[in-house]
């Protein structure tokens, strides 16, 4: 498998996209909307021409501004799956898939279990079916790299889970370098071996999903991975302990080193909830009113004052958690991370 290497700058409306990336296996770029994620894919596909940089798939050079080399999209072995799939509305499913390669169209219709839809028009399909058609159409071209723009955002929550699992399996089977962009960290973590967090056109951190959770380099990365981020002022107590006075008034102990303006990072599953003031090993205790209770699968997310905790549905039942009640949220000093705030 030839790796995709991209290193380029591209001026966008309000900032400059600057990126150096090597894609082997599946890589996800995550970031808020407007961070330049889609532009990365468009540059790699050749739909925009970066004024500086180099893009190559293995030995095939697609862009080299030093030698003024620029290959058009149709001259790159690239498969781009558009966010809303961009299926040709005037063609049938079969004609869409056969658009790039007639000989392999039937094989891909079969493979994606859409043979029965061959003569349907794209408008008659469900979101999940459209995505399968888009994937079949892209792969029928025989690309050397797959680019996916928000592959799950056009789907409803119900289909999303199934499609995500299918996509995971497909990307694994294909063995092609794949680059996907998404604004959802959970999707990125589920699909990709490595995740890059991109903000305002800059790559903030590039690591495996678990590394991003364990060691976020900054506050943005931390909050993006789903962690609580509490702002405050840090003061060293001794070699092992830092005390942070939160902006909301509470005190938080952390075993991490920090000084000055910091963000305290705590994952919701590190936080336990109790009705009574507990005297256990957790050093941090925040008392507050329950502001919201949201069920997420078999777990429940509870918002207490400034912090979100995640507990099992059964313990939420046992504690009779409802909006408005007062509870204690506790977490260990070792469960916190401190990141500098700009």
């Amino acid at each position: 498998m030839a790796a995709l290497r991209a290193d380029f700058t591209l001026p966008l409306r309000s900032f400059e996209l600057e990126l150096a990336l090597e894609v082997e296996g599946t890589v996800a770029l995550v970031g808020p909307s407007g961070a330049g994620k889609t532009s990365v894919l468009r540059a790699i596909a050749g739909l925009v021409r970066p004024p500086r940089g180099r893009i190559a798939l293995g030995d095939e050079v697609w862009l080299d501004t030093d030698t003024r080399l620029f290959r058009k999209p149709d001259e790159r072995r690239v498969g781009l799956v558009f966010q809303e799939y961009a299926l040709f509305p005037h063609l049938t499913v079969q004609q869409n898939v056969a658009y790039a390669g007639k000989q392999r169209a039937d094989e891909y219709l079969e493979r994606f279990r859409i043979s029965h839809l061959a003569h349907a028009k794209p408008t008659a399909l469900s979101g999940g079916e459209r995505q399968r058609v888009a994937l079949a159409r892209t792969l029928a071209r025989g690309p050397g790299v797959i680019l996916l723009d928000e592959p799950l955002s056009a789907l409803d929550a119900h289909t999303k889970g199934t499609v995500r699992a299918e996509l995971q399996e497909l990307l694994h089977e294909l063995g092609l370098p794949a680059l996907l962009v998404t604004h959802d960290f959970e999707d990125a973590a589920a699909l990709a071996d490595q995740v890059g967090v991109i903000v305002d056109g800059q790559l903030r951190q590039f690591a495996t999903p678990s590394e991003l959770v364990d060691r976020p380099t900054d506050a943005f990365v931390a909050s993006f991975t789903g962690a609580n981020l509490l702002r405050g002022k840090a003061r060293r107590l001794d070699d092992d302990m830092t005390l942070v006075q939160l902006d909301t008034g509470e005190l938080v102990y952390s075993t991490e080193w920090g000084e000055g303006d910091v963000g305290v990072v705590i994952y919701p599953w590190e936080v336990s909830i109790g009705r009574l003031h507990q005297d256990d090993s957790a050093m941090n205790l925040i008392q507050g009113e329950i502001r919201s209770v949201t069920a997420v699968g078999n777990r429940v997310r509870v918002r207490i004052g400034p912090i979100t905790a995640e507990v099992t549905a059964s313990s939420a039942d046992k504690l009779e958690l409802t909006r408005g009640g007062t509870v204690y949220a506790s977490f260990k000093a070792t469960g916190t991370r401190l990141v500098p705030l700009a």
């Binding site: 596909a45 999209p73 781009l80 809303e84 799939y85 658009y99 790039a100 028009k121 794209p122 459209r130």
Partner: protein, 275 residues
């Protein structure tokens, strides 16, 4: 009470407007018995004008399609300095008085016009020939087509064009397999409008091409020429033009019904209107 009065006023205004707009067309058909109208259609003035009209209009439409379609696509798909100016220039003949268009054509292509001497030395004389009729028709009708074609091309989701390119199709294949089929409805509508406008052309033609039976006398020019000679002939031609125009309008409405407005990708533009 006041509500009922208002409704009555609306109804009256609509009735007056509708009667005003339909009465002249109706009058053409009832002024003389239909048999006399049909008899007049075999009059050589009518058949000659019919041939001149259709020949020149068809050639003009072919030219409009051939040059107008790429022009519209370029103006719709590229952003460049001076684009708005280009579009305005293309649209200008639409609002120009036809007589002014005729004078302009004479000043450009006439024997003593801007290009007259170059054309003359090449052995080409345009004014008062059938080619002049074609040029006049193309000049006044093309903006209608180009304007509509720009709107049709702009309504196409740019992602569909991008998708075609990333699927290995070059610009030409993309144009013929994606852009043209998706713009078809709008292009046909523009073409129908341009055809109707071209068929009715009068002012520019009479100034630039004159009104010679069998050569440059189109149907509208024949109406004018026969006005004081044989009123029945003018009525017959008028009736014919009303029918052709109505047929064009109906086919225009039908094309706007089956144009592919279905999009699988969100369009950045509002859907194409039917006119």
């Amino acid at each position: 009470m006041r509500k009922a009065l208002l409704a009555l006023l609306y109804f009256l205004a609509a009735a007056v407007a509708l009667a005003f707009l339909t009465l002249p067309m109706l009058a053409i058909f009832v002024h003389v018995p239909p048999g006399r109208l049909i008899d007049q259609l075999s009059n050589p003035v009518v058949t000659d004008a019919l041939i001149v009209s259709f020949k020149t209009t068809l050639i003009a439409q072919a030219l409009v399609l051939l040059f107008g379609t790429p022009t519209a696509y370029l103006l719709a798909s590229r952003r460049f300095p001076g684009r708005s100016l280009c579009i305005t220039l293309v649209e200008l003949p639409l609002v120009l008085p036809p007589a002014v268009a005729g004078i302009g054509l004479l000043a450009a292509f006439g024997r003593f016009g801007l290009l007259g001497s170059s054309l003359g030395s090449a052995g080409i004389t345009l004014p008062f020939t059938q080619s002049a009729v074609t040029i006049a028709v193309a000049f006044v009708a093309s903006p209608l087509y180009v304007r509509q074609a720009i709107a049709a091309f702009e309504a196409i989701d740019p992602n569909l064009v991008a998708a075609s390119r990333t699927l290995g199709a070059g610009p030409a294949r993309t144009f013929f397999r994606v852009v043209l089929p998706l713009a078809r409805g709008g292009l046909l509508a523009g073409e129908a409008l341009a055809f109707a406008r071209g068929l009715g052309e009068f002012g520019a033609t009479i100034m630039f091409a004159g009104s010679l039976q069998r050569v440059t006398q189109t149907l509208p020019l024949a109406i004018y020429a026969e006005f004081e000679v044989n009123f029945d002939v003018t009525l017959a031609i008028s009736a014919l033009l009303v029918l052709i125009s109505a047929a064009l309008l109906i086919s225009l409405k039908l094309t706007s019904l089956w144009q592919p407005s279905e999009q699988t990708s969100r369009s950045r533009f509002a859907p194409l209107s039917s006119s």
